[in-house]
């Protein structure tokens, strides 16, 4: 037991109860269905822009990229262009690879003592793999949810859906039937990956030690979102046409509460709304932060180009020429060498 993750878990349970009691108990459909989603979307958009503008006001006068390879040097030394980019073009490629493939996580290593006290390094690819699976699955899930927010649904989203349900997973038992509607693999990968990432934080002592409630909360929240979504699609079942009518109402600013849609749906959108509203205040801002990281997005060109600190203020300097003007006579008297002789001025 750990108070940090118990706190986060409790927070998610409280959110669940809020939505459940609010909808099933008090019947606040308009509040949870219309007001909260709009407010959350607004907080998300404005909050992210605010944070980014705030970050952009911090000057980064000098080049501080983390370099992971040979710097561009003499022509016969092969540079690591993407790991130690010398110009903006290679920085762009480095950024794209970082954002799309998480190359910095790929470098993750584990240190341990091997055979007694021999220190050794070990390849540790599970974090990279879990993070990659999680983020890509989440991305696919978000994109395919656009089918609820577009009419007609663009062809590319339909392609993504058919690709996502490519594996026609089917499972029959007396108590459960899975197979139709087609199983979206992204939802399962998302849930599996987020649970792995959570267990990793809980069970590996070193990772557990550096984890805070703010690290666990989004994981629990995303698990809750995934579980409620999977519940609706495969188990409790909802009237999908009614839901699309509702979501289309939201994006065309004619919101209308659907009839006969169970409380699982409201719980699902409440969790999503909380995630969106929480976004700008949290570590989830790494979505924008990755673009703003000076250790990634700068070219390592300190030796080629002079970078001047923008907040250098004018310093009052007393040059040697001025010093000599002040003390020339005394210097000559003392026999010190001077650059300008006294005889040049008649006075």
């Amino acid at each position: 037991m750990n108070s940090k993750y118990m706190f986060s878990l409790a927070a998610v349970i409280v959110l669940f109860l809020l939505a459940y009691i609010g909808v099933a108990g008090i019947g606040l459909y308009g509040f949870f269905g219309i007001f909260i989603p709009y407010a959350a979307a607004f907080i998300f958009a404005v909050g992210v822009v605010y944070r980014v503008v705030d970050w952009a006001q911090s000057p980064v006068p000098f080049r501080i990229p983390s370099t992971c390879g040979q710097q561009k040097s003499l022509p016969w030394i092969k540079p690591a262009s993407f790991d130690n980019p010398a110009c903006n073009g290679t920085v762009l490629i480095r950024m794209i690879l970082e954002i799309v493939l998480f190359r910095s996580l790929f470098r993750n290593m584990r240190f341990h003592f091997n055979k007694g006290n021999k220190f050794s390094y070990e390849w540790e690819k599970w974090l990279w793999l879990g993070a990659l699976a999680f983020h890509w699955a989440f991305f696919v899930v978000v994109i395919r949810h656009l089918r609820f927010f577009t009419e007609p649904v663009p062809v590319c989203i339909q392609w993504l859906e058919s690709l996502d349900s490519f594996f026609r997973l089917e499972f029959f038992a007396d108590f459960v039937q899975v197979g139709l509607p087609g199983v979206f693999i992204s939802g399962i990968v998302l849930l599996a990956a987020v649970i792995y990432l959570l267990l990793r934080r809980m069970l590996i002592p070193q990772v557990n030690y550096v984890s805070l409630a703010a690290d666990y909360f989004p994981l629990f929240l995303i698990i809750a979102i995934a579980v409620s979504g999977i519940m609706m699609r495969y188990f409790t079942k909802v009237d999908i046409v009614g839901i699309k009518e509702f979501t289309m109402g939201l994006v065309t600013f004619h919101p209308k509460i659907p009839e006969g849609v169970g409380s699982v749906f409201y719980i699902h959108i409440f969790f999503v709304s909380v995630l969106l509203a929480y976004f700008p205040f949290s570590k989830l801002m790494h979505l924008a932060g990755i673009f703003m990281s000076p250790t990634r997005n700068l070219a390592n060109n300190s030796r080629v180009k002079r970078h001047v600190n923008p907040w250098n203020y004018p310093v009052k300097v007393h040059t040697y020429e001025e010093y000599e003007d002040d003390f020339r006579e005394k210097m000559i008297e003392a026999g010190l060498p001077v650059e300008k002789e006294l005889t040049t001025n008649g006075g």
Partner: protein, 138 residues
């Protein structure tokens, strides 16, 4: 330095933010000025006359695909062809002969919701829309 707040790399930051805001607003912009009413289904005379489907309307709306999947499992793997609903009524477990017998208007019934919700079921990969048209043609 409070007085000289400025956005560094303004061009790049603003361009990124414009892209972000555009992405967030894209669902709203895509549907701008469009009204997307929910599809209205047309029932055939036969379906109207029958009044009730195999299960209550709400259950069919949300769960018809699971029922069909179950029917296929029962017929194909267990060779049991009769379905008894909650009211004790018996039906032949057949998409072509039972479902599509009443709902013979695929374009005005099945397709309307499926298109709206962007669902492309593989039922019609095998099952023809209306078996009667085929038998008439023979």
């Amino acid at each position: 330095m409070a007085n000289n707040k400025q956005i560094y790399d303004k061009g790049k930051v603003v361009a990124g933010l414009v892209i972000f805001v555009f992405i967030v607003l894209s669902p709203f912009l895509y549907n701008l000025g469009k009204a997307a009413p929910a599809p209205e289904l047309k029932l055939t005379d036969k379906a109207k006359a029958a009044k009730e489907c195999v299960l209550p309307k709400e259950e069919m709306k949300a769960g018809h695909m699971q029922l069909l999947d179950l029917w296929r499992e029962k017929v194909v793997r267990e060779a049991s062809r009769v379905y008894v609903n909650t009211e004790g009524k018996e039906f032949a477990m057949s998409l072509s002969n039972t479902c599509l017998d009443c709902h013979s208007n695929k374009a005005d019934f099945c397709d309307r919701c499926h298109n709206y919700a962007s669902v492309s079921p593989y039922c019609w990969d095998c099952h023809i829309d209306n078996p009667k048209e085929i038998s008439d043609a023979k």
